[in-house]
Assembly symmetry: C2
Homo-oligomer: 465 residues x 2
């Protein structure tokens, strides 16, 4: 399905709050990516490849920036709304020549950023509803995504409100006292909407909500109610800051170990926020994290355990940044995930090798004991990942440590935990203790996961037997 993006307005509220360093507010970057590019890339992630951007105020700047979209991996065409001052119904109408008769399309606001999975969910909902509706009626049904539980920070006075007892929207406007949700600016229309607009556009105030009144009267505007998806209308500087905060907050991952969750993310997220303005790629950041770990290994070998330990922890923090930048900047890739996991394993091995060598040279423990501890730590180190990947392949679902392992998932034995052990051991100059701890914990984890896998696969009725 195509998406029409409204990008004709002036953004005057934005201009009044601060001296925006861009010709159009839609080109203001949020964490390294201009607002309108975020809208396009989020829609792309939800499966949309064809865009029609309706420009008006400073359309030249927007066109020059986005071009034909090929550098973003999408196809962009432009419609021009010369009457952009009259209201956004005129902007939608301007897209008419670029939509085929019989075609459905999304309408998105150029200044509303959103979580791609919101658009995916909306899209599924629509497909489902259209499939169930009689063919003759389906063409006349339009959809609006409605936030039924808006965040407290939302400026309700400015928002367009929606009232609907069931799925049919019965009222839409800024001045409703009673409302069941907030207009998220995400619509889905059929080409038939243009005939309605043609008739209605001059009657009201030129706004889309005003032009949609007859559709609402017929009960043909349906609400898709949602909750807890990130979206943000960016009208002023506060909104911009709020959007940044929300995007950064969304970076913590379900699969995070305890150290990541409570410590690393507090450092990596601000670093990602800062790094996002540069053009370094996630894979580049993975390489930096790897090099830091390698350097840390050398420091252990050359008997600088304090510095080595601190650098190991830095490598751990930076290891979070690559994924954060990838998610923030729509640069996630499967090769990136593959590459990162290979580099991490080499980095871990280098650290254990460096610590073992440093420990042998310092002659604080018997060489045989150091050799064995280093061997056991090195052997078990990749199992943390290996066990998870093998489990996922066999079970057909991700292995989420805190789901499967309960309290055991707090053992500091995933990568974040192992690197924290190395940091603390380095600070205390207890290299042999690091090796013993890593050897014991990593091998203990293998056994725990073996028991869990046994229980899981035996309980899972859908056995391949």
């Amino acid at each position: 399905m195509k998406a029409v993006i409204m990008a004709a307005g002036e953004g005057s509220r934005m201009r009044s709050t601060f001296d925006a360093p861009a010709p159009s507010k839609l080109l203001l970057p949020i964490l390294g990516i201009p607002i309108i590019e975020r809208v396009i890339l989020a829609a792309k992630k939800a499966g949309i490849r064809e865009f029609i951007i309706v420009t008006g105020y400073r359309g030249d700047a927007i066109r020059e920036h986005l071009k034909d979209g090929s550098h973003l991996g999408v196809n962009i065409r432009y419609a021009e709304n010369l009457q952009w001052k009259k209201g956004n119904a005129y902007s939608l109408f301007a897209a008419r020549p670029l939509i085929n008769p019989g075609e459905r399309f999304f309408l998105l606001m150029g200044d509303h950023i959103f979580d791609p999975s919101l658009l995916s969910a909306f899209s599924e909902h629509i497909t489902d509803k259209i499939k169930k509706a009689p063919e003759s009626e389906a063409e006349q049904i339009y959809f609006l995504a409605v936030d039924s539980q808006p965040r407290e920070e939302l400026d309700v006075d400015e928002a367009t409100k929606v009232f609907s007892a069931d799925e049919r929207i019965t009222e839409l406007g800024k001045k409703l006292d009673n409302f069941t949700g907030i207009d998220s600016g995400m619509f889905n229309f059929h080409h038939s909407i243009f005939d309605i607009l043609e008739k209605e556009i001059e009657k009201g105030d030129g706004s889309l909500s005003s032009a949609l009144q007859p559709v609402i009267g017929n009960g043909n505007l349906q609400a898709f109610f949602f909750q807890n998806y990130l979206w943000q209308d960016i009208d002023n500087k506060n909104d911009l800051e709020q959007a940044k905060r929300l995007l950064l907050k969304s970076l913590s991952k379900e699969k995070d170990g305890a150290i990541s969750r409570y410590f690393n993310r507090r450092l990596s997220i601000p670093i990602s926020a800062w790094i996002s303005r540069f053009s370094i790629t996630p894979n580049g950041i993975s390489v930096i994290s790897f090099c830091i770990a390698l350097f840390s290994a050398f420091l252990f070998y050359f008997r600088h355990p304090l510095l080595g330990g601190l650098l190991a922890q830095l490598a751990s923090v930076i290891d979070g940044v690559d994924g954060e930048i990838a998610r923030l900047k729509f640069q996630e890739s499967r090769f990136g995930a593959y590459f990162d996991s290979i580099l991490d394993r080499y980095a871990d091995a280098a650290l254990i090798g460096g610590i073992t060598a440093g420990c042998l040279l310092s002659e604080t423990a018997s060489p045989t004991a150091v050799f064995i501890a280093g061997f056991l730590a090195l052997t078990a180190s990749p199992f943390s990942m290996l066990a998870k990947e093998k489990f996922a392949n066999l079970a057909g679902k991700d292995y989420i440590p805190h789901e499967q392992e309960g309290l055991f998932s707090y053992l500091p034995v995933n990568r974040d935990g192992r690197l924290a052990i190395i940091m603390i051991g380095g600070i205390l100059n207890q290299l042999f203790a690091i090796l013993i701890l890593l050897a014991v914990l990593s091998n203990l984890q293998v056994i725990i996961r073996l028991i869990i896998a046994r229980k899981y696969f035996q309980a899972d009725a859908d056995n391949i037997n």
Copy 2:
């Protein structure tokens, strides 16, 4: 769906060829599992859990052996055909009280072993056909799985032949001169068949093909043509030996490395054939292979490289046996696959550790060089599996080395290849060379797979971006 299994006949041809050590030919074991149990377990693997076994000759022995089926993870009920001498149409008719009106069911022969995926394919075909047929007609349609390309070894004189120009079978019998395929003994009926049997059973010779003539006349017996699936009617000793050969031949795996394919399987398959008569489990065999590898590691450490090398190769051969036994005896389990892969990684690490220690003690190379070579070999050793598992999870499909890697898949660096290197190095007493080779080849494989993953994920249009 339920399956009715014909188990009423005497198996007189079997008795005339040799002195069978079982009261019924259906209880003769093939590779550790009685014929009829193979039929049940193959059907179970194709998703069937409810069985009706029609007994006649020595029904007591069959009931006593199979009981209610709970030890096989299925539910078995019995019907008795007192007139088993009259023909197999009587046997099918005896199942009538145990099939509900309106129900479809499979008919299987108690002496025909088959590949579970044949029944799965047959089942999918039926579901598809029934869905497309008008409801009133669907009840009257029956299906027969027909081998359109029977193996050369098949005794065509004895086989029931099928002729059909399209999907409708127009002739069925032993004496056809022109035929398009061979009756595999695998049918699918609706309960309505019993009314037809009731009328026809006394008219002909009591055989099912004779009783089905009116159905064939109406064009209601449809052929499901298949090719290249293993199945075997076991009438005499030759058939029994042939079945064994076919089952054993099917054990080579698509994912096998070159050493496995051309060397290990030639040893492991005869071992599996021999071991199949005992009740040792696949996991038990995995533990034996692990212990042999551990013992080999100790032999390297204690400077018996020749014996160590030979045992490493034995461990590699036995590592194939666990999977073969699992497949032969319907004992495949996801936990088994998980357990085996964890043990293999520890075995590999132990071998590299033993060789490194043995090499250090023999003082044939500088300790630093040995340490580094051992470290690099140990580090890269789990990547062979890790890279495959990670790839499979990200790509959503198995990583088959010879598909993705072309000629590189002949590098002896999968487990079979690494253990062969250890054997040859052990025989030649070149421990340092083993470590160098393993270090170089394993790390080279990591790089090759990184390049392949990059190409694959970039080419794959279905990118998560």
